[in-house]
């Protein structure tokens, strides 16, 4: 057991080292592509906290991304705050919003929770479109980063990587604490969890806040990187879908599942778009359908069980049909 743990830490260390060194051997385009993967890895991992471990499938997590982005934009543009503080404010603002909205919405279960969160995200988009301070539908500009082009690519890559590491370490610590066990208990059976004395409302709200915190941080970096933010893209339902699909594709309720999902989905999508310009737009839907049908437990289940035969996929599809 001890040996296995050391082995795991060793693998993580090597992967992290390779990622840190990655920009040194890449051109600007590839660094930017890597930054995008890291961003989606953060958001999918953050979704995993509430959707994977707690079993509350949020369909509105993009709201934290948008709020993080807009807090950063408004603070930097209107008050001249520097990025460091705006970044922290974005994370805590998104987390606070998660608490406020979570208290009523987390009482709902299953479908109703999913739709309520979707509704919150859409309502927030419509609100931002109508507000003066966010410049409504025409979009808001952010101050430009005063670095050389190359340094900008490095800056965003490393701050995104740092945020991802923070997300994963926090999730790891959470899993090994009382909170982590509470969340999994809630996912398996909320009434039972309640009856053994777990404060389910508190645990769920903290999980939702953590999910909001990291998604908000990702939104903050994204906004600064783009230097321009519009309500449509910032609160796009498609972004939520991408987080969920990546988490499911990699494996929900597993620490590294969403990371693996984000990496593989982005890689496949990028490769396809290079070779099949038209057909690749159909790829995303097809991947979702096939993944749900044949490997609903995600890639990580395939990797850890080391089963690659046809029988694994056929067994999955036989399990839940009528």
């Amino acid at each position: 057991m001890e040996k296995k743990l050391i082995q795991k830490f060793l693998i993580c260390g090597i992967v992290l080292l390779l990622t840190v060194l990655f920009p040194l051997f890449s051109n600007n385009f590839t660094i930017r592509f890597g930054t995008d993967i890291l961003m989606f890895a953060i958001m999918a991992s953050a979704w995993n906290i509430i959707g994977g471990y707690t079993g509350y499938a949020s369909f509105g997590n993009v709201v934290f991304f948008g709020i993080g982005g807009y807090i950063t934009a408004v603070l930097m543009e209107r008050t001249g705050m520097n990025f460091g503080f705006a970044y922290l404010a974005a994370g805590f603002g998104a987390a606070l919003f998660a608490v406020l909205i979570g208290l009523p919405v987390l009482r709902l279960r299953g479908h109703y929770f999913a739709i309520a969160t979707l509704g919150v995200a859409e309502a927030m988009k419509a609100l931002v479109q109508n507000l003066q301070i966010t410049e409504g539908n025409s979009g808001i500009y952010l101050p430009l980063l005063n670095f050389s082009i190359k340094a900008q690519y490095y800056f965003f890559f490393y701050i995104m990587l740092g945020t991802l590491v923070l997300t994963l370490v926090a999730t790891y610590l959470m899993l090994n604490s009382k909170l982590g066990y509470s969340l999994i208990a809630i996912r398996e059976n909320e009434e039972a969890a309640n009856s053994v004395g777990i404060n389910t409302t508190w645990s769920k709200t903290v999980a939702f806040a953590l999910s909001g915190l990291f998604t908000g941080l990702a939104g903050s970096i994204y906004a600064y990187q783009q230097a321009f933010l519009k309500p449509g893209p910032a609160f796009s339902v498609e972004t939520t879908v991408k987080m969920i699909v990546m988490a499911v594709f990699g494996g929900t309720g597993k620490l590294f599942g969403p990371l693996i999902g984000a990496f593989s989905i982005e890689m496949i999508s990028e490769t396809l778009s290079n070779y099949f310009l038209v057909a690749h737009t159909l790829f995303f839907g097809t991947v979702v359908i096939l993944a749900i049908l044949f490997a609903p437990k995600g890639l990580i289940d395939l990797i850890t069980k080391r089963k690659f035969g046809l029988s694994y996929f056929l067994e999955n599809i036989r399990q839940h049909r009528i």
Binding site: A57, N130, I244, T281, G285, H320, R321
Partner: protein, 286 residues
């Protein structure tokens, strides 16, 4: 003035009701939230558009075609794809529906481009006045009457036919229905087909009244949610009450706050209803 807004709201609400009837049926019977509902509405709209553009077919005739085509499509999707994971739980079918939605949307984008189109019927702008009080657009009124006819047809199918009995039995208890000889897989496929067929009809009527494009579906799915949530599941009257409520609320809301606030109003209502009364105003309690 107030009366005119009310009439506009009711007429639009009728269309919302038709959009939601299919979603409510699929949700109530199979516990599937069909996120692809708006995409199916879009396909119905484009069926009408192409029949109109290529053959000059009147939308009120092509309504039949889009319903039948969408029924067959829905039947196939349920039978081949969704039935395979139907027992895996709500979350899995929800994501699967998302996959279907993205697939249809992008297929439509690739085939028809993102252009916004319109079905330009000669009688599109016709209207008549009731005294000096209200002006009623003829097409919208016709559409509203059709909504009522289609709702009644659904009510009849569900409550007065053997098929309806199978559907209701399956929704109450899948295993018991199977024990008494209901072909559950087929019943599910027909239910999904009926729901998607109603979406097709809504698409046809939408295409006469508003511009259409492959990306129109997302917002319509969300509107359908709002209607289903307000009305509640489990009764034929739910979507109609929900649809009218949303239509009227939107009409007055945009009159008071301005048209850009339409979505904010709908989604605030959605979240508020969910928090206060998650089962809707006509929904059955657990």
């Amino acid at each position: 003035m107030v009366l005119q807004i009310l009439v506009n709201g009711i007429l639009k609400g009728g269309l919302y009701a038709l959009m939601a009837i299919g979603m409510s049926l699929i949700w109530g019977v199979m516990d599937i939230i069909n996120i692809a509902h708006g995409a199916f509405i879009m396909l119905g709209a484009f069926t009408t558009y192409w029949l109109f553009t290529l053959f000059g077919m009147d939308p009120f005739v092509s309504l039949v075609f889009s319903m039948v085509i969408l029924f067959v499509l829905g039947y196939g999707v349920q039978k081949i794809v969704i039935n395979n994971v139907i027992r895996a739980g709500a979350f899995i079918t929800l994501i699967l529906a998302f996959g279907i939605d993205i697939f249809i949307k992008n297929l439509a984008l690739v085939s028809w481009t993102a252009d916004v189109r319109k079905v330009q019927v000669s009688y599109g702008a016709a209207n008549f006045s009731l005294g000096n009080w209200v002006t009623i657009p003829t097409v919208r009124l016709l559409a509203f009457i059709l909504v009522i006819v289609i709702s009644l047809a659904f009510y009849f199918i569900l409550n007065r036919t053997n098929l309806g009995r199978s559907i209701r039995a399956t929704s109450q208890d899948l295993d018991a229905a199977r024990l008494v000889g209901v072909d559950v897989a087929r019943t599910y496929a027909i239910t999904f087909g009926l729901g998607v067929g109603a979406a097709g009809a809504a698409g046809t009527l939408w295409s006469i009244l508003f511009p259409i494009s492959p990306m129109m579906g997302g917002e319509l799915t969300l509107k359908s949610f709002v209607v289903v949530i307000i009305g509640g599941l489990g009764s034929m009257l739910g979507p109609i009450i929900g649809g009218l409520a949303l239509g009227i609320a939107e009409a007055f809301g945009t009159d008071w706050f301005g048209s850009t606030y339409g979505n904010l109003i709908s989604f605030t209502i959605l979240v508020a209803v969910l928090i206060v009364r998650p089962k809707g105003f006509l929904g059955k309690a657990d």
